[in-house]
């Protein structure tokens, strides 16, 4: 729940004229090693630092570009209630929400797409951390339920890339109820005999971690990703101890048996393709045909409807 400190504050600092170190943003500074990287090199290297290998945060659509074959299609999501509590802190939530929507060009923090990975048909959902810290409210819940239904409908594995500060406080208990809702989404996929793969990206915490994001058939994380339930500050205040080195990082979780794999961004596509192949194609064709690139974009599908609810 630390998207304010993680995201909003730096943004505000930028707005109020923190000295701009780099002209025209041709050079990026790695937040880990502080070395400068030329923007083209950074893009070519999938936003992984060419000096130290630090995996920088990327947006949901960039994530899709990096992972899916060309021609992936974004799915339109059903409308979720906007500001059901009419929540107001120092600002109105509805204003924050509209601002985030305008900035991101999407309704909420999750983008859902269908496409393929090295020719394997998949449905993918990716969190946009810059959208209110990727927090999970009704819109995010709706996106994940829709993605699950679509995966079942298309007989395709569901892959979710997470990046979230946790529940969206401004939706109160409605955001809490997205935990069981998204758990139901994972059940739909699993009951259809389809793989549900979670890729935990930096950072993933709180109610997102404690629901669908820990229920993958395969649990993958990007190197160095911060993953946990409680925030580090809260833990420190509660136990009054210094946190161990590398606490709540992907490698720490791997060591503690919570993850299957830590996979570098550059190897993510190949790893996902291999896993899907192993889970879904028990016998390999002797001479596998070369993976055909998708020539035409896949047809856009409407969001699947849920079952009718008895009155």
């Amino acid at each position: 729940m630390n998207w304010i400190s993680e995201w909003a504050l730096p943004k505000i600092k930028t707005l109020f004229g923190a000295p701009r170190e780099v002209p025209e943003n041709l050079w990026h500074k790695c937040p880990a090693c502080e070395q400068m990287i030329f923007h083209r090199d950074l893009e070519r290297n999938l936003h992984v630092c060419t000096h130290c290998g630090h995996h920088m945060r990327v947006g949901a659509r960039t994530r899709m570009d990096y992972t899916l074959d060309e021609g992936w299609q974004r799915i339109e999501l059903p409308k979720a209630p906007q500001d059901p509590l009419r929540f107001r802190d120092q600002r109105r939530y509805v204003e924050r929400l509209r601002e985030a929507q305008a900035k991101a060009g999407q309704e909420d923090a999750v983008v859902v797409a269908h496409g393929s990975i090295e020719g394997n048909r998949v449905v993918a959902a990716a969190f946009e951390f810059s959208f209110l810290g990727g927090s999970m409210g009704a819109g995010v819940g709706e996106a994940l339920v829709t993605a699950a239904r679509l995966a079942v409908l298309q007989d395709a594995p569901l892959i979710v890339f997470t990046a979230s500060g946790g529940a969206r406080m401004q939706e109160g208990a409605i955001s809490l109820m997205q935990m069981p809702r998204t758990v139901i989404a994972t059940r739909m996929v699993k009951e259809a005999g389809l793989p549900f793969i979670v890729v935990l990206c930096d950072p993933t915490t709180g109610g997102v971690t404690a629901s669908f994001a820990m229920l993958g058939d395969i649990q993958i994380a990007e190197p160095g990703a911060m993953i946990g339930f409680a925030g580090a500050r809260v833990i420190e205040q509660t136990v009054r101890e210094k946190l161990p080195e590398g606490f709540q990082r992907a490698e720490y979780l791997l060591e503690h048996g919570i993850l299957d794999l830590v996979v570098k961004r550059g190897e993510m596509r190949a790893t996902l393709a291999r896993l899907i192949g192993l889970l879904r194609t028990p016998e390999r064709v002797v001479a596998p045909p070369p993976a055909e690139p998708v020539a035409e974009p896949l047809p856009a599908l409407p969001a699947p409807e849920g079952p009718a609810v008895p009155a």
């Binding site: 304010i4 059901p84 509590l85 120092q90 109160g172 809490l176 109820m177």
Partner: protein, 318 residues
């Protein structure tokens, strides 16, 4: 000694005066019955008006009241042949989560809950109701046991939230909560959850993804504590009362949002003033909620529970 909340001060003062008056009359043999009765009426009226318009923050304080009946009080009052079960079969037993078998009005059931403890010793023993991964894994084990033997599940939730600790994270707190929610949703048996005090975020929903969800009148159920919310959104924990208001965390709010099924009225002045009445009311309402579910088969229960949660919040407007 009775514990008074800040906003109960005027009532506490009046009750103190009544007590004093009685003592003086006992010592001096003066008949003050009439005066005591008058003051009693006044105290009652004050209690009534105070509790009729509790703010969300005041309700939070009532929900956390140290004298409020706790999970084990409900179990002692309603569960015969109570047989607590321990352990997650992997690491430890977590006393913050209570679970076991027993009979509720003659019917064998599995019971789960978070226990805060009622004195210093038991509070420490139960870690103030804040569970570690082992607690949620114990809950899941008992849910699965109940599922195998067709036993209805009752849960009594009262927790500030899951325990935020280094070890808890290292042992997979998030995964344990996620699996417990999953187990609740999957159980092919009737499941009635009651929020009896604090319904604190993931640590509460882990035991409350049920067919019927009841909330005591002055209990609260929230995605984050008002203090936590205030320190993040207002950057000032002292704004907790404002945050409590904004979070819509009272039983009345949750009922209106259609996130819980029923609100169980509390005795005048809160459950802590008359625990027996509160225990009895909850027992009756849990039975009323459970009884119609007993006729349904496992597949129907599970399908309906899913529909219920999938619909939650979709059309909620305050």
């Amino acid at each position: 000694m009775r514990h008074f909340l800040d906003f109960e001060k005027p009532i506490a003062e009046l009750e103190g005066k009544i007590e004093e008056l009685r003592r003086t009359s006992d010592a001096g043999g003066i008949d003050v019955a009439e005066e005591v009765a008058r003051m009693r009426d006044k105290a009652q009226a004050l209690l009534k008006t105070t509790y009729a318009k509790l703010s969300p923050w005041q309700k939070t304080l009532v929900a956390r009241h140290p004298d409020r009946p706790k999970c084990l009080d409900y179990i002692r009052a309603h569960i015969e042949e109570w047989t607590p079960l321990a352990g997650d079969r992997a690491f430890a037993d977590d006393a913050a989560v209570v679970g076991g078998l027993g009979r509720f009005r003659g019917r064998a059931v599995a019971v789960l809950g978070t226990e805060k403890g009622s004195d210093t010793e038991s509070r420490v023993l139960h870690n103030f109701g804040m569970a570690r991964p082992e607690g949620y894994r114990k809950a899941r084990r008992i849910i699965e046991l109940a599922s195998r033997f067709g036993l209805p599940i009752l849960s009594f939730v009262d927790t500030a939230g899951a325990f935020p600790g280094i070890e808890a994270e290292a042992r997979g707190q998030a995964e344990a909560i996620a699996r417990s929610i999953e187990a609740c949703l999957e159980a092919p048996v009737p499941f009635v959850a009651t929020i009896i005090g604090e319904g604190g975020s993931g640590g509460a929903i882990a035991l409350a993804a049920a067919d019927r969800i009841l909330m005591l009148e002055h209990s609260v159920y929230s995605v984050i504590s008002p203090e936590g919310c205030a320190s993040i959104l207002w950057r000032d924990a002292a704004q907790a009362a404002t945050a409590a208001e904004a979070l819509k965390l009272t039983a009345e709010d949750l009922r209106r949002l259609n996130l819980v099924d029923a609100v169980v009225p509390e005795p005048m002045g809160g459950a802590h003033r008359d625990p027996q009445a509160s225990l009895a009311a909850v027992g009756d309402r849990v039975w009323d909620s459970l009884e119609p579910l007993l006729a349904l088969d496992g597949a129907t229960l599970r399908a309906r529970r899913r529909e219920k949660f999938l619909e939650m919040g979709r059309n909620s407007v305050v």
